[in-house]
């Protein structure tokens, strides 16, 4: 009698376990599948923002405070996917205002240098120091997010896009996979029908909002509809808005020698 009871209890436990496993399996499988899709969607969205290979792009940044235009600056960015992993190394040339003309900023991973032609000196700067300046806004354009972040599927949502229209998007949460990434986490909304980036929110490791970006004014550039304007809203001060307009996106060779500190004094742009 005791044996029968023991067998019955064991059989019930096995049934319960099987039910639990079989019941949860589709959920686990679906989540993993969604995250795989999320990463693929992020890769596709990166390809919309950035052309394949090396390129240069001219950015005009217009700053607004409380709705009034306060500043305008110009940057010329040379970007090249690094041989180790595909993240971009960037050389940023300041074009305007006149007091900043021809200053350079080099980012090669965690190796960041600022060059001032007036002093003929290259000064090493921290990743955080770079974020204080306008050049960091260029990162929004020339960064392979899929290289440094793992994407998690959050869900689907209807958000206002950069033109103020409702857009059905996939909401992804990006977590940085390595050190020295300027934004440890990003909330990203992508239109799944055309892989266009719609909106992004960049956060610190403590979860503090650094900036919100809207990608808009998609135009046919180098064979794809790509965003030519990005509206960046400061996370701390929402009245501080930067409009970034990109022009002359051009595929071009960026020699390795350009992307080292000792070249900065030699740089002429061609």
């Amino acid at each position: 009698m005791l044996d029968f009871k023991r067998i019955l209890v064991r059989w019930m436990c096995q049934r319960l376990l099987m039910t639990a496993v079989l019941g949860l399996w589709p959920a686990h499988w679906a989540l993993a599948q969604n995250n795989t899709d999320a990463q693929a969607l992020l890769v596709a969205s990166d390809a919309v923002r950035n052309p394949p290979g090396s390129f240069s792009v001219q950015l005009t940044l217009t700053e607004f405070r409380k709705g009034a235009q306060t500043n305008r600056s110009g940057l010329l960015i040379y970007a090249k996917p690094s041989s180790t992993g595909g993240q971009y190394s960037n050389l940023v040339r300041f074009m305007a205002p006149a007091r900043d003309a021809n200053k350079l900023m080099l980012r090669s991973g965690n190796d960041l240098w600022f060059y001032d032609p007036a002093t003929k000196a290259s000064v090493r700067i921290s990743a955080q120091q770079r974020l204080l300046g306008q050049a960091s806004n260029g990162d929004v354009m020339s960064t392979n997010l899929a290289r440094d972040y793992s994407a998690q599927w959050v869900g689907e949502a209807v958000v206002k896009d950069g033109e103020g229209r409702d857009c059905s998007c996939v909401h992804l949460r990006l977590k940085s996979t390595g050190a020295h990434v300027p934004y440890p986490s990003v909330d990203y909304w992508i239109n799944p029908s055309n892989q266009r980036p719609v909106m992004a929110r960049f956060f610190t490791s403590e979860g503090r909002l650094l900036k919100t970006a809207y990608f808009r004014k998609f135009q046919l550039v180098l064979g794809l509809q790509r965003p030519t304007e990005t509206v960046i809203i400061d996370g701390l001060d929402p009245d501080w808005v930067t409009l970034m307009q990109s022009t002359q996106l051009t595929p071009r060779e960026v020699p390795d020698s350009w992307l080292q500190r000792d070249y900065l004094a030699r740089f002429t742009g061609e």
Partner: protein, 405 residues
Amino acid sequence: MTMGMHHLLLCGLALCCALASGAQAQAIDPLALTPTDDTPDPTHASSGLRLEVQAQTADLRFKPAGLARQQQRGVLDFRREWTLRPHLKLGLSNRLEQVHADTGSVTRHALREAYASWRWGGTDGADNYLDIGRVQWRNGVASGFNPSDFLKRGAVLDLGTQNPQALRENRLGTVMLRQQWLGHFGSLQLAFIPKLSSRPSTAAQANPREPAWERTNAEDAALLRFAPKTGETWTAEGLLYDRAGEPVRGALNLTGAVGDAWIVHAEWAGGRAGGGAARNSTGPNTTTAASHHDQELAVGASWTTPWGWIATVERHQSSTIGSSDAWFTRIAWDNAFGLRNINLAAFARINSSDHSRLWQLDARWHLNDHHSLALIWGQYEGSPGSEYGRVPTRAYGQATWTVYF
């Protein structure tokens, strides 16, 4: 109506205004903002020309001959490079000053740079460059004191400020023939510096319109610098400097990125001491006489704070005769108090031995894309006979309006 009522009405009015402005701020749609059409094209190339108008006042402990209490300067500053052909570049950097002081007026001309640069190679990923002319070549990774910046001796111009960045910006270049190899291995540079004048360096002050070769090319010299390509975290470079009549000196520079907010640096130079001239015009007060080994070291760190300030602390040590020990600290805050275009900075040099010090406050306001206003206040403090206490100037103030063309 009582005073209390007045205050109440004023408070109410202020509250209404605040609410109205708040409502206006809330009404702003960031996606609807567009640039105004009357702003200049930000991609327009700079001419390289700027105009400075400057007024300076000084409080003197005592008044040596030639040192002014009040002076005004008008400065035309020009620096530009031209690419004549894909492989040929010309550069010119010049500063013309008209100084009116209570000691008299003088016109100063500083030819900082005039050079031609030729590039060749590049097919195998390596570029070669040949420079000839007066070239400004600054070395070192420290902020306040650069033992490895061998070419700074005699090159610094009198600007009425001790700000290290301003001194670096306005120093004379050295006439040289320099070749640089730049490739996957890193960078190797070798320069030959000819002796161009036998006059004493004070001769330049006698005629401030001359190129002042004696300040930068008083002896034959050679300078070698090697900066290997390293990883992302650490960088290193080594230098050798051989100047006629002096022992060869070597130098080593290191930088490292520690996390996202810290940069550490170390700069060392050393060799057999010799000659009689002070090697460092902006660092600890050191002179060499008898032949022995000496070394100079600057070690420091720079921290980008979460509030947007950049704080730098450096310690300088020199084991030359009359060994010295000094601290340098600097805090810079761009867009201070959240105000776009207002930059504040302060630095101090402190002699650890006699505790004398120099400090300077620097405020800059970029009025618009082409106009800036800078205000400087600095003080030399210390007991009589100390490094900074014996400087004739006790305090100085300076206002500079700069126009960028």
